[in-house]
Symmetry: C2
Subunit: 484 residues, 2 copies
């Protein structure tokens, strides 16, 4: 006994001694009324100061685990953990449909596996080499000095006031008429999206969206028990004819759109289509959830206003924004901008489910933005990503015999191969050659898209970019030859 | 035009100029093809450097809002925001039951109102005067230097590995046998609780808990459409006889218990009762959600192991912990410790709903804990709260003619008045005298508790503590006299 104690760095020694002895007691290795080594013995054995051991023993006494007998030493008070010997529950049988669906559609569990050293095109997260840590540190220290106590205590469900004001102003610079609107800060896009889905009544249990679309959206629609009607995509956004037909044939509770740098196709919906789509949804009185995904990553072309700005003072658009994809995903901050009456309900939902988003995160982000770092960062990021984007497009054209390539900006391209090819077959062959990407079927609402895949380039180095794309191209050609 | 520009501090001037002109364009004040003032004019008018204005104009060009004509100047490109003139939606009619319940039970909206300057006993949040900001700053800087890029990019749904390991070890020092167990980091207790409720199948739509109980739990049970069966409380926890009867009569999907410093009564469940409760729930195969609320705020008495430790290697306890109440609520970090099969589903739910908890928060908290600050902090906090607790008990005994007072520790007391008195009447009279507290009926599962209230003392100064309690006492006496 007492021979397996190991001191680790950076943590007070007395805490480690205390925890070690606790463990011996809980595991039943030290029994009731058993004598502990004297503080002197223990200190000598482990080359600790005697004070360290004394402090540890005193805290064990405070917690009622140990008692000292004058002139004799310290003793274990009692065996504190009896076992109730409960019956084992079969959790798998006790789980509901929602959790089952979440697990089945969990890409981290059932998606593409890849190992270190492989060239991975699966991520569309920002490149961490671009992060300006120095300015984040400064923002943190600035804000902590100003109101550290506020950052660490409870905040409000709606969000941190300076950040709310900043975001409202930011949305105004995107052309949004804020009359009657309000804003809720959320834990990134995803929580905002789930809150809106949870809050809305869903009498028809049916949603409209682009096909293909964001995988997380498909997952959450299914978790909410909704049937999904996807509208096919063309060069400038989804097909209006298909939309009109769908609207005329069935009733929908809501629509979900990603008008800028659509995930996964990278297509930007044209201004004309935006207006027409809004008119149609307005006519059928269907609320539209607008995913502001990567709106900031425009590399060229003219200004395109988000749907919520196109809507003027109309009110059927619920905009969900996030800085995660363009700034720092580790700081989980997104927002919902919508009509005040809706935000009022969302706020109560948010309070009931997670109280509020971390004040620390919100405050650091606010100060970072306020200091003007975002404008500088986004310029740098846009340049870096634009360069990679152009290289990726060029190399895809050179190497991959695709039938369609889309992506007007953002952090990924979407590729359609010959109908006879399966992207999963290409993937399986590529994995063996050290390259992975995301098969496009997972983004499809109708089981199609077997011949498509998404290529995320944000975190791939330039050298790997060409090598990876060339490998995919060779693999595709080989499979085409074999297929003949 | 251009006469209402106001420069604010701390934000780069060029960003402010850019945003200002954008606003003029979006509001239709600057129209298509209208000429902007020259950069020289604008700079002179607002005493800005000309470079500032040049940078602003250049960015407006990059965004496609403005174009320059060589030798002539800068012009507005086009009116960018057309209005789709959508029909107004009636959100109140489109909202579902879940959001409606959340709004109706939202205490921030429909609870006790109080104004600045009043003595408020409504909060059970920690006293921010106790926060050791210096050590939080140090923890942040330590961690950012070690792995800033990791903190700011995507993490894992299960949580930040060093924190998970720390928390597992922490739970082990509470006597938990970790065999077959796993841990998920959540956005505080509340998200963890909602995740568990969402993941479980609920064939009976019925839950067992203590009566009274945590208001947030009541709210979430109702949002999940569950019927609540509350078991009455006595000195050492809920009444076992009532529990046995309930279990024999009806089927339940799960049970929810707050065994240590129960909210709102402050009662600590005895070790014997813990074992017997576990035995009963095991017999009926009902999972138990254990709320680790304020377990750390023990001021006296012997060690009490959490249910999940009492359960030994049994597995029907789902423990939800949080440092919010004892440490920093602004950092939203809690955890769920449960059987691996369950945590596996919870992880997928978490990923689908909020991707992961802020890595920044988790890392700062981890480093703070690792540095040994928690042990020092909790000692200081315990002393400060214990002192207030003793004063509060003493003054309640002196001033308030109660029939029962409970609270063995923690940050609040619970008081029962004579059956004939209404705590809401007492409250109404107290509000006029500048004192507020929380009426106990909101914690009751059965509509009773009209004669009870909760007194949170953590954020009330010593001077206000006596004054506030004396005011409540006087008010109660007066109402008793009037009632005679």
């Amino acid at each position: 006994m007492f021979n397996d104690f190991k001191l680790m760095d950076g943590r007070p020694a007395y805490v480690q001694v205390k925890d070690y002895i606790k463990e011996l007691i809980y595991k039943g290795i030290l029994r009731s009324d058993q004598k502990l080594p004297s503080t002197r013995e223990f200190a000598a054995l482990w080359k600790l100061s005697r004070n360290t051991v004394i402090t540890a023993y005193r805290e064990l006494e405070d917690e009622g685990l140990v008692h000292s007998v004058a002139g004799k030493g310290s003793y274990v008070s009692q065996e504190v953990v009896p076992s109730a010997d409960s019956a084992r529950l079969e959790w798998k049988e006790m789980i509901g449909d929602c959790a089952r669906t979440a697990e089945e559609l969990d890409l981290m569990k059932h998606g593409v596996r890849w190992e270190k050293g492989m060239i991975s095109f699966t991520s569309i997260a920002p490149d961490e080499k671009l992060f300006d840590l120095h300015n984040v540190k400064r923002a943190f220290l600035d804000r902590m000095s100003l109101e550290g106590e506020i950052l660490l205590n409870y905040g409000y469900a709606k969000g941190y006031k300076p950040l709310i004001d900043y975001l409202l102003r930011y949305m105004e610079t995107k052309g949004v008429d804020l009359t009657g609107k309000d804003l809720l800060v959320t834990n990134g896009f995803t929580e905002g999206f789930d809150l809106v889905l949870s809050a809305m009544g869903k009498p028809h249990r049916r949603v409209l969206c682009e096909n293909p679309t964001h995988h997380t959206a498909i997952k959450l629609f299914k978790m909410h028990g909704m049937e999904i009607k996807g509208i096919g995509m063309e060069e400038d956004g989804f097909r209006l004819g298909e939309l009109e037909q769908a609207l005329a044939q069935q009733s929908f509770d809501l629509a979900y759109l990603i008008p800028s740098y659509h995930n996964p196709t990278g297509i930007v919906m044209s201004p004309e289509k935006r207006m027409e789509a809004l008119r149609l949804f307005g006519h059928y009185r269907i609320p539209v959830i607008e995913d502001g995904f990567n709106e900031e990553l425009r590399y060229s072309g003219s200004h395109v206003a988000p749907l919520i700005a196109c809507g003027g003072s109309g009110n059927n658009v619920v905009y969900i924004g996030s800085y995660s994809k363009v700034l720092f995903p580790g700081i989980r901050v997104g927002w919902v901008l919508a009509d005040r009456e809706l935000v009022d309900y969302l706020e109560s939902m948010k309070r009931a489910r997670s109280i509020h988003t971390s004040t620390l995160d919100q405050a650091v982000l606010y100060q970072y933005l306020h200091n003007g770092n975002f404008e500088k960062y986004i310029k740098r990021a846009r340049n870096a990503y634009k360069h990679k984007y152009e290289l990726a497009v060029q190399w895809c054209k050179e190497h991959i015999p695709y039938t369609r390539l889309s992506g007007d900006g953002g952090l990924h391209l979407f590729i359609e191969l010959n109908d006879s090819l399966s992207a999963r077959d290409v993937l399986a062959a590529c994995v063996r050659r050290g390259v992975v990407f995301t098969p496009g079927d997972i983004f499809h609402t109708d089981g199609f898209g077997a011949n498509t895949f998404r290529l995320g380039f944000s975190r791939v180095s330039e050298g790997e970019l060409e090598k990876g794309i060339a490998t995919i191209g060779e693999t595709v050609r080989q499979l085409m030859r074999e297929g003949l």
